[in-house]
Amino acid sequence: MQIFWQSVGFGFVTASVLAISAVGLSLQFGITNYINFAYGDFMALGAFFTYVLNSEVFHLNIWIALVVGSLAMGVFAVLINHVIFSPFARRFKKTFYVLIVTFGLSLILLNLEYSIWGADVRFFQMPLAKVMHIGPLLLTRYQLIVMAIAVALMLGVHAMLKTTRLGKSMRAMADNTTLAMTSGIDTRAITTITWFLSGTLAGVSGTVLGITEGNLTPASGELFLFVIFAAVIVGGVGSIYGAMAGALLIGLATEISAAFINPAYKLDTAFVILICTLLLRPSGLFARPGKA
């Protein structure tokens, strides 16, 4: 039973990281209607931005570095969209091209990170964390902070989508870009803002992934991307709330299975859930009509 509760605790932590990243990916997918296969490398790059601020040059406090590094990643994502993705998406009607471009960018970013930081495992500079008991759960202070960040960001995204003009425009655009454009929404501005949000969330999730895993390599984002895909597909592609629910489900399932089966097959648990979803409910648990 001890092991079970421990794995539930880890499950919530993984779910928190997943939720942040999955929402970041889904927001952008909803607006641009193509998957960003470089998202995992966005995460790793954001984490390295934080790492540079935290460990290499400024020796900033990890949480301050997290904020600054993630915002920098948001700006970087906007630049990438402006220079690469958006020209390709505008020029080629078929999504093939832009998908291959995101796939190619993932290769470029990964290898740039390798050439700058090497393949060695890196660590954030942060003091040892105290372990705390929360009911039956046993968690470090950092893990609790990560969960708090996730909850805060999810509530923030929810509030933004439901109450602000920006959020309403984003939802309108995700439903029907042409219609949104004709009803006077500045779709290019919305796209830019969405890339900024998506990049920032990638940065945050990449960094908290590094914090919870205790280390950081250029490839860590790429491996995690697959788990994000599982969460997003299980939740229903394009649905923000589906992404959140999928993250919770996949996070708990992978960690509990890791405790009871074998940690080496964490990924495969996520994949089995993914396959079952595809077989039973191909559009996902919380599918949005017209997107599948």
């Binding site: 291959i100 990964l110 393949a119 997003v232 990924l267 495969d268 994949f271």
Partner: protein
């Protein structure tokens, strides 16, 4: 034989091997429009199964693997190709019918990672992270080949296999089946409305492409005698995509050009460069970046590739082509065929409705 020839024939081998791999991905992506981001997984299955069939029983080899039947040369290779086909059927049944292009790509890339994970972690299957090694060199015993003479010999064998596979692929892509696949690529709704079973045809394309992937992978195994998980990280799929996009999607000769430029010149030639002191792997990293950039530049400036897809003209069908219809269509009629600016009522509304 001197070292330089060893290198050159290794390059020749990879030129032909990636020609085969590129043809396989091309029929899936270039002809049918299936974005198979798991392609390298099919290559790996071909390699492992070929190796496991060719190796002797695992007892006493210091490795753990299934099968171990010591099958002679072409048998293991062909079974490797068929194993990749079997895997394609499973993948297609789960995902192909249900998903649009980009979800399919997501599922496939995930699948290639999981396959990687299983092969890497589950040692009894294909010896885990160490991979298979000491796979017997085909014909080496019969022809008394040394390690040095084996390399040019097997590069030649691979070349011969590649030519045969190129002829077969040419027959497929020029056939009505190839045309149906291209119709599905261009617009699957139209193809279905014309009575084509889209799923069945996509499945055929997956099977053909996977067979090529399996053979290409099996040849790598036979050539180098070893194969382990570092050889097929998901990024490797991208190299094959780069080959076909640089060479010219939809053109089989383009695949050979792409293989020459990307695989031979960019991937394997720099691998022979000495490491920069103090920066292990830097050349490799830069190499990958260059391939990525090259692909984007090609997509932007020459999306049709070095050797573009050829149009199939009427004259090539070998039929009487002298209907003299020019007389049937006077010049003013031709201009009458141009679209008129008149917008009929309902067109705009229906356009947004059909944009779903």
């Amino acid at each position: 034989m001197s070292g330089i020839w060893y290198y050159i024939f290794t390059l020749v081998f990879f030129l032909f091997d990636y020609f085969i791999l590129a043809m396989g991905l091309n029929i899936q992506y270039g002809e049918t429009g299936i974005l198979n981001f798991a392609y390298i997984g099919f290559v790996a299955i071909g390699a492992y199964v070929t190796g496991a069939f060719s190796l002797p029983n695992s007892v006493g080899t210091g490795q753990q693997y299934i099968l171990g039947l010591s099958l002679p040369f072409p048998l293991g290779l062909i079974l490797g190709g068929l194993a990749a086909c079997l895997f394609a059927v499973i993948v297609a049944l789960i995902s192909l019918r249900r998903l649009r292009t980009d979800y399919l790509a997501m599922v496939l890339i995930s699948l290639s990672l999981v396959l990687y994970d299983v092969c890497n972690n589950y040692v009894p299957l294909f010896n885990g992270a160490d991979g298979l090694y000491n796979v017997p060199e085909p014909f080496a015993g019969v022809l008394h080949l040394t390690t040095n003479s084996f390399i040019p010999f097997f590069a030649g064998v691979t070349g011969a296999i590649a030519v045969v596979m190129w002829l077969v692929m040419g027959r497929v892509t020029r056939s009505p089946l190839g045309r149906t696949l291209r119709a599905i690529r261009d617009d699957d709704v139209v193809a279905a409305a014309l009575g084509k079973d889209v799923f069945r045809n996509q499945l055929k394309s997956m099977l053909i492409g996977s067979f090529y992937a399996g053979i290409g992978g099996g040849l790598i195994m036979e050539f180098s005698g070893s194969f382990n998980p570092t050889a097929w990280l998901p990024g490797e799929t991208f190299v094959v995509f780069a080959v076909i996009i640089v060479g010219g999607v939809g053109n089989n000769i383009g695949m050979l050009m792409g293989s020459l430029v990307v695989e031979t010149l960019l991937v394997h030639l720099p691998a022979f460069l000495p490491d920069i002191p103090g920066h292990p792997g830097l050349i490799e990293y830069f190499d990958a970046v260059i391939i990525g950039v090259l692909l984007m530049v090609m997509l932007w400036f020459r999306p049709q590739g070095i050797v573009p897809e050829r149009l199939r003209r009427a004259a090539t069908f070998g039929v009487r082509d002298d209907l003299g219809a020019e007389a049937n269509l006077p010049p003013d009629e031709l201009s009458a065929l141009a679209p008129s600016p008149v917008v009929q009522p309902g067109t705009l509304q229906a356009r947004s409705a059909t944009n779903e």
